[in-house]
Amino acid sequence: MHNPETPKQDSVVHAGGNGHGGVHVHPAPTSFIRKYIFSTDHKVIGLQYYFLALTSVFVGMYLSLLMRIHLVWPGAKVLGMDIKPETYLALLTMHGTIMVFFVLTTAPQGGFGNYMLPIQIGAPDMAFPILNMLSFWTTFLGFLAIIAAFIVEGGAPISGWTNYAPLSAIPSAGPGQGLGEDLWIVSIALFCIASLLGALNFITTTLDLRARGMTMMRLPLTVWSWFITAILGLLAFGVLLAAGILLLLDRNLGTSFFVPGGLVVSGEMIKHQGGSPLLWQHLFWFFGHPEVYIAILPGMGVASQVLSTFSRKPIFGYKAMVYAMLAIGGLGFFVWGHHMFMSGMSPYSAMAFSVMTIAIGVPSAIKTFNWLGTMWKGRIRFTVPMMFAIGFVSLFVSGGLSGPFLAQPALDIPLHDTFFVVAHFHLIMGVAAIFGIFAATYYWFPKMFGRMMNSKLGYLHFWITFIGAYAIFFPMHYEGMAGRPRRYAQLTEVAYLHQFWGLEKFITFAAIITISAQFLFVINLFWSMFKGPKAEINPWESTTLEWTIPSPPPHDNFGGHVPVVNNGPYEYGVPGAERDYIMQTDPAHVGSSH
């Protein structure tokens, strides 16, 4: 129902001439290098991040495949590669690092955030386009550094993505702990700097470049999720950077921040004195726990957007969703100690960390209930992005519910550093976040490339990946309960681990099938990019601003026009409306403001 009192408003303001919004937008560059390589266009940068993440995810997947094969056939050569126990540790270190930083942090935030945030708030670009370009290329340098660690003498580091000192601080502590480890630190330091620049840009853009009428409480939940993620990044990455600098000094200039005195490594006395291994853990996890939310929050945003769109219903409890994300992000800074219950940290502080951790379960539960509430009494359209969004919710529940086990320090005694933990974080921050990325890809592909993806391949990809994700990661809970420690290159040496042979083989087979299915996705992606049927402006009948402009969007997004926002982001199934939805730029609608 339209409010008769509201004067009719144009959905678009003609700015006249070649005027632009608040950002100085250069004319579209024509040279290849300025257009696709050193571009300052947020859309090109978004795609650069996306394809960097796509490359990384295949590297990371390949490493995990080698690990799975080594676990069940320890003697096997893979593609002529001899996997030794130290190779296995190098594989797991690089798998974790590449996946966490260059995939889960890069694709949702750097990729989709960069591409969609300015458009969804009605801006022609990011607040600082040149800084944006610098962020990407710094990230890319970081990627080159981490890849270089594979080929230097001694190979890649073996100390895990958490890189605990003193294993990480003493070059003689293992193969790969020499130059490979230094490259790891340099790579991560570069990544930190890039992420800080990116966060600065995201926050300023969201606060300063919103179109007329786009109040904070009319932001799509995707924008909220990128905004909160940027704040988390801003506060967290500096800490990791500081830790990295100190670790580098310990390794190369003989300082003793993390290395205590009196150590004997590989038969040699170590000259360090008085440092604390726990200091590294505190600094690392102060960053590391918010990092988990940096990976998953954008997925929550996308899931909200997609679930609402294809349930044809407003999101259930918009404000609760916003506050829940703020609560998750805020509490995330006070729970790092739950990674350290077994570390020798004070048992009293463990109790405090435990309570804070449990508290995070509450906003997480709110989000889940509200997603279910969004689907409830909806009119669900099972598009491929919707399938992945539903998959996201399912995996989020499965991965999230192991949290309250691990948050109790008493239960963490037997469960810490076992496969129960591996199951937990892979389900929630690994595959759930990846499902968010898939949902975002299938949802926004028509906008980004102006063509539709093949839905048959999409469904096939969904079913194999969804069932595969459960098949790979859920059994790890059982192994964890039975005491199977993490990061074991082989299960041959400890007798009680022999009972897992069958299960391990099952997981490996599931992994091979699931990983193979990802080629369906890549084929679909590149085939559709060139051969897919042309996409209309708004193929999903969505309400947010990106669906008001051509597919793909022009260089300055709104083509000299600047949108005016009159409605909340998720006005679906509106009774009495011409269509069943009201776009954000449509004339103001009664009851649409939250």
Binding site: G17, N18, G22, A127, I203, A242, I245, L249, L279, F286
Partner: protein, 256 residues
């Protein structure tokens, strides 16, 4: 979330005021040609309003400084932990701490502090001069900018020299400590001295580079407004660096 709410407040109050921004637009979005707005808009078709741009860069700086604060908060917490820490020494069969207070080269550091505070003053003068200049000189008179620069006190070059003087002084402090036999690995308090001063110096050097850019922009007849923004934002950054140095100095001196 501390930085969020005040910014939001500013924003809402401007949105509520229909006079600000053409046709009640939020200040972030301004359209050349629509007139009105917080500054003298509409001079250059391809440039959004100066006031908006300035505010955006200041906001960006504020957000960026949060990251710098977190970096130094991390170092500080590491400093406190490392200082209070005893670790097990097998030889003594006891928990011992190896923290030894550092004898700072006080004279030199106080001199450096004076240099930096002086540079903070000169850059503030440069910032104000840039604004006063911009108020009188129409932007279209690009060549006139360099002339103005010559006539007034050259605050920017003075700041650059003072900044470089501070950095040289810090380097001398490092040499002085080295001469006394205190290297980065000698004791934990030494390590922190080098880390804190080093990371601070890198940040200040970034400020120097920004000022050199502003100077170069004056000669390459870049738009005056861009220079003003660079000078303004760098000035605030510079003040922050001065305060940060006072903090580091106090930490090293009084929490040793």
């Amino acid at each position: 979330m501390g930085s969020l709410s005040p910014t939001l407040k500013i924003r809402e109050s401007t949105v509520a005021n229909p006079k600000v921004g053409g046709a009640g637009f939020p200040p972030g979005i301004r359209f050349p040609g629509t007139g009105g707005g917080g500054g003298g808009g509409g001079r250059d078709e391809s440039y959004p309003d100066f006031g908006d741009r300035l505010r955006r860069y200041r906001l960006g700086l504020m957000v960026g400084l949060v990251a710098v604060v977190m970096l130094f908060v991390s170092f500080t917490s590491a400093y406190i932990v490392r200082q209070g820490l005893g670790s097990y020494d097998p030889a003594a069969n006891a928990f011992v701490t190896d923290w030894k207070p550092l004898a700072l080269p006080m004279g030199l550091l106080i001199l450096n502090t004076c240099l930096l505070l002086a540079s903070s003053f000169t850059i503030e003068m440069a910032r104000r001069a840039a604004f006063a200049q911009a108020a009188v000189a129409p932007v279209t008179e690009m060549p006139g900018i360099a002339r103005d620069e010559v006539r007034g006190v050259p605050w920017l070059p003075i700041t650059v020299l003072l900044g470089l003087g501070f950095l040289a002084g810090q380097l001398m402090a490092w040499h002085e400590l080295g001469r006394r036999g205190f290297y980065i690995s000698t004791s934990p308090s030494n390590s922190f001295f080098y880390v804190l001063t080093g990371v601070h110096a890198v940040h200040l050097f970034g400020g120097v580079v920004a000022l050199l850019y502003a100077l170069a922009a004056a000669f390459r007849s870049r738009p005056l407004e861009r220079r003003r923004i660079v000078v303004d934002v760098t000035a605030w950054y510079w003040h922050f660096m001065a305060i940060l140095w006072l903090y580091i100095f106090a930490l090293l001196k009084f929490a040793a």
